[in-house]
Symmetry: C2
Subunit: 235 residues, 2 copies
Amino acid sequence: MQVEIWTDVNCPFCYLGKKRFNDALAEFDGRESVSVTHRSFELDPTIPAGTSGSVVEHLAQKYGRTLEQAADGERQLGAAANEAGLEYVTSGRDYGNSFDMHRLLQWAAQLGRQEQLLDALYVANFAEQAPLFGDDDRLVQVATGAGFDEAAVREVLNDPSRYADEVRRDEAQAQEFGVGGVPFYVFDRKYAVSGAQSSEVFAQALAKAWADRPGPTLIADGDACGPDGCAVPQN
Amino acid sequence: MQVEIWTDVNCPFCYLGKKRFNDALAEFDGRESVSVTHRSFELDPTIPAGTSGSVVEHLAQKYGRTLEQAADGERQLGAAANEAGLEYVTSGRDYGNSFDMHRLLQWAAQLGRQEQLLDALYVANFAEQAPLFGDDDRLVQVATGAGFDEAAVREVLNDPSRYADEVRRDEAQAQEFGVGGVPFYVFDRKYAVSGAQSSEVFAQALAKAWADRPGPTLIADGDACGPDGCAVPQN
């Protein structure tokens, strides 16, 4: 079974949802047959690359809240994260353009190590005080801390065309599915779950998708090779 | 749209089908949004690794045909391949265990260059006289000819555990779908086409799958972050 998860490193509910989903997956009987891919979704592609801003100030300004209201939102997210067993820095977090992170995550996926990089980026953004955005050196530090090769990371970062198509393709697919927010979970392209649900809801979704996992409908049958040989015409 | 193609390098109809499918895809309006993955299927996993045998003798023995009947089958496959614009060596081809080729193809997929390796393996098996099976040096020669790094290829070949799980997972998925032979084409896990169909049939299948490409059904909706912010409770 294929599970695709559209996500953004800027998104607290993605961080929270990943933990809850993984908790459900760890208990799921069919877990050995579940393949998980994290897909790119930029929460705000209009943020200029190379900049970093305060999350609380940004939220207050963007949504017309007071700084105290915005800070309170962060504290509530922190409480929910702590309850799920995650650390969360409730003040001083930054935000920024995530395109380069998505490119790195696409690269890591091709190395079969996407999960490690995503976890490291989430921890750096949500559980560590140091700013994460707007600074390639910090990104390199996080990636090398997760076991990636520094030169290879810099090579991807320094060429903005690398894995850009893969990011755009994920975003186009999200648009086609009508995804308006993340995290967004798609099971075998048949069922979807939006948002940081509880582990119980993820467990139910996994069970439902597993039970209904599609055998594709055969629409054309013809010359093939099998254990009994190829369908070569006999004279 | 995702197209998965279960295939084996030993399979002439896979070679033929790939050309016909690609011809259809090249003319398909939505081709920029089609992602193709080749999946592992061993036609005969019981063949010992490290051996090479004559295809014609093998077919004659296995299916109780005369050598002439088996050779005639090869000639007919060759004629069909030529008609599709492919070269085909109609005598002297060998066969063998393809597990290591599948491991290499899984590796190449993670590099984003699976297509190049598969094409090179097909050409080596079906269009060149030199034996392909049972000899790592020949595999290395084919892969480096397709632009892969010799040391990296040998590293994969020398460790039989590398990408073995990925091969097994593809094969388990094929079994779950009831795939009895290859090539086997699956469109968004919704529709399937078996065998080396004509380009017209592939074009129809692409069009049908495209028109019906699934939006997944939302089964749970909840706390998410979107362009308008995160669904943080407001006090």
